[in-house]
Symmetry: C2
Subunit: 335 residues, 2 copies
């Protein structure tokens, strides 16, 4: 297993824990330009798959059919924080499709924004599936089924026509035979796929290329525009993906996934970047991603400001004393 | 960096994430018997240090002075869950020393038992420093200061006579020069030390040896007896350390620490085992520890029953669907 250092966690100036993984940087033809560790590390894409899971809906005119604008499209690609701006819009999307919260099959969890804000919800407070970070994606899934007269209650089954259509589109975008997409069940119960890390990077290079990739129609361009126009809907207040997309507005599209996955597409450079922390811990991801952007020559002063809190975060203990920090150790190698 | 596989996390039957680290198995003379990865991996001991942090108190007759029995001694070595049995006893210990919650310098956090039970406390509910998992240790720190007429408000400073005494005792027990103990500040603000992993294992071999190690007095034996007699006070309901100590009552002493550290002492075999997950994630620790105990020939049917939930835990998503599991991959090598 060829893993490369990504980041280390210090205490008292010494390394306490360390994170290794893999990085792939490709252009929109899928050519590997830089890597660290195995650029083909088999990687469950998790929530980085969301823009590609929206492709069947986009291709069949779902946005126009239901009157979904760029805000709704951004939310279909989101791992949102469950803030009112997210929850209210998901509810409106479901209503436009003639559905409601009870049609969702994503499950419930405490909204992400509580953890981001270091707050606790009331014990008696209940959260519906609308608060699930994937509820926008699932609202899009349901809308597709309504438009095509497909069964609603089985929309997350791997054999459902929607999931079959998604699988075909994912395979097409990352240029793999469908049989090379390794299936698993995601946290939100939808089918998810593992693929070589470099193919996830290719997907994001093509997403960033957007409208200038005519062989993929203009749906990728619409999704790129939606995500970069409404990054607060794709993630949430205080989140890393929001900071990455604010760092280079309209140029960088960023999406994280569970178990230490990060994908970034850079329109101006024609690049896709994918990172997997082998142990799954996201704390290594942001310092490593910023170091990678620096090594690619993409970080200017404007980009550095919003990303400053994520660059080498100080770690504090329960009484606020600084105990250490997280430092990037990744070194890109030219392919 | 010589790391060995410890465990892997699967999804859909394929590896999604993996954990590497180091293992040392030594006897009470400190001779290395088995290892995986670097047995001298520099390891911040974190909460596995607690029994040794109690040594100055024990050596100077603190238990008799304050009327602390085996329950109080167990709690001094605890990373407790903040259940009523823990909080009430810490309060009583502080009262016996003429102190109260306001003398503590450990800070506040949501009691561990909420996470263990997958519950949420009320947003408005406040937790005092009594609920901190380290409050028993800190109560012992304060009692030592009261007995010796030392300043109370600076008891966690590295230069305080208590912390200097602890440092000397730790160095003696793990057979290192004091200058080889690498300092850092723990989550509870007390000084903590990094040392080669094999030296932490030596500490636990000696702790398990207990009363039969006359050169260390009988204080280690008293602490071993206290911890193994009251494992529910050392950890808490539903916790792994409780399961390890219930697996071989009065024979195995087990203590975990933050950032993926586990130490186990086996009285009957005269062994100390120390494990560090390099990335700091405890989820790898329990399947790996059980596999290590199996490979050492120490797991019988009686031990397997309480540890069954920790052996190869099934992972479920938000709707309860099984998505994968955690599997040990560690292989001990004879030294």
């Amino acid at each position: 297993m060829n893993l490369a250092p990504l980041a280390e966690v210090t205490r008292g100036g010494r390394v306490e824990s360390l994170h290794a993984g893999a990085v792939a940087v490709v252009n929109s033809r899928g050519e590997l330009l830089y890597h660290a560790g195995d650029p083909d590390f088999p990687t469950f894409t998790r929530s980085t798959l969301k823009p590609f899971q929206a492709l069947p809906f986009m291709r069949d005119g779902g946005a126009a059919h239901f009157g979904f604008g760029s805000r709704e499209l951004a939310l279909m690609c989101a791992s949102h924080s469950g803030e009112p701006m997210h929850v209210d819009l998901v509810q409106a999307m479901l209503a436009k499709a003639g559905c409601d919260e009870h049609h969702l099959r994503c499950g419930c969890h405490v909204p992400i924004h509580y953890a981001t804000a270091d707050q606790r919800p009331a014990a008696e407070e209940c959260f519906s599936q609308l608060h699930n970070n994937c509820s926008g994606k699932h609202a899009g899934f349901l809308a597709y089924c309504v438009q095509h007269g497909l069964p609603l209650d089985t929309y997350i089954d791997a054999q459902h026509p929607l999931q079959q259509a998604i699988r075909q589109d994912v395979a097409r975008i990352v240029a793999l035979p469908e049989s090379d997409l390794m299936p698993g069940i995601d946290g939100c119960s939808a089918p998810n796929y593992a693929m070589p890390l470099s193919r996830l990077a290719l997907g994001y290079a093509r997403l960033a290329q957007g409208g200038s990739a005519p062989e993929y129609g203009n749906e990728l361009g619409q999704l790129f525009d939606a995500m970069t126009s409404h990054p607060e809907l794709v993630s949430g207040s205080g989140r890393a993906d929001l900071a990455f997309m604010q760092a280079a507005p309209g140029d960088w599209v960023a999406k994280g996934g569970a178990e230490g996955v990060q994908a970034i597409g850079i329109r101006s450079a024609g690049l896709g970047i994918a990172i997997k922390v082998a142990d799954g811990n996201a704390r290594a991801l942001y310092p490593a991603a910023i170091a990678i952007l620096q090594q690619l020559g993409l970080m200017d002063a404007g980009a550095s400001a919003p990303l400053a809190p994520w660059m080498q975060p100080l770690l504090r203990n329960l009484r606020g004393l600084a105990t250490g920090d997280i430092r990037a150790t990744v070194r890109l190698v030219q392919a």
